[in-house]
Subunit: 148 residues, 2 copies
């Protein structure tokens, strides 16, 4: 786990903010190399699956030519929702590092524990609350703008 990669994920989240999307960013790393990037583009693409994590995972899988992202880490600014937590399990990612907790739909620690569920066929190493304040500040900025 390297803090510099969380800063890359935060940079992705900023792109979402600049595009008036809920600011969430994600990157996939393998052997200290970024192989997938994504930021939330649900509105732009009219795609309910276009969350940061899904886009980063798809890019990484395309780069590797494999749906198995074994030996990969994902860095994401917000605790993944059930869809994205499920995608992380499905792609066999080894480690997740995330920033802000999502008490309303987080599926890693808040509402569900999908990444550590022993009934599923894969478990993920979890680092929670990394750069939490910075990640949350971006979300607050977005929702403050929305209200004004």
């Amino acid at each position: 786990m390297k803090i510099e990669f969380m800063h890359c994920a935060i940079a992705e989240a900023r792109k979402a903010l600049e595009n008036s999307e809920v600011p969430v960013g994600a990157i996939v790393v393998r052997n200290s190399q970024v192989i997938g990037r994504g930021y939330n583009q649900r509105e732009k693409h009219n795609d309910p699956t276009a969350h940061a994590e899904i886009l980063a995972i798809r890019q990484a899988a395309s780069y590797l030519g494999s749906w198995r992202l074994t030996d990969c880490e994902i860095y994401v600014t917000l605790e993944p929702c059930p869809m994205c937590a499920g995608a992380i399990v499905n792609s066999r990612i080894q480690t997740i590092v995330y920033g802000a907790y999502d008490l309303k739909s987080g599926a890693v620690n808040s509402l569900y524990n999908i990444l550590s569920d022993k009934r599923l066929n894969h478990q993920v190493e979890i680092y929670s609350g990394i750069c939490e304040e910075q990640c949350q500040a971006l979300l607050k900025e977005f929702f403050d703008q929305l209200r004004n």
Copy 2:
């Protein structure tokens, strides 16, 4: 809920079987019109997110020009996994009709109840076990082939 649409989903699953993919098919219906189709293409596209439901949802959203699939039903041959159940919640689909139960990773009734969880911001009407035998027979055919 119309049984003919489940037959369309089964036809999609057959395409997966013909392509040596785990045979799962899905369709999205709005006003009795099919607006999205998908079958599992994880291996072909090297994409861990290329499950039948995700592909059908993305096609339907693209057709409607909106990520909100309100007033839509999804028909799928197998109980969705956490990723796909999460995508169904995220896309605000009204109704799900599914065939076979998935005791190992089903997230509608078997391991989780993501589509009826009142803590999430959307709930989905559920019809389970529709054409269950036909849907399960396809899966059995695939895994029997794999073993031989």
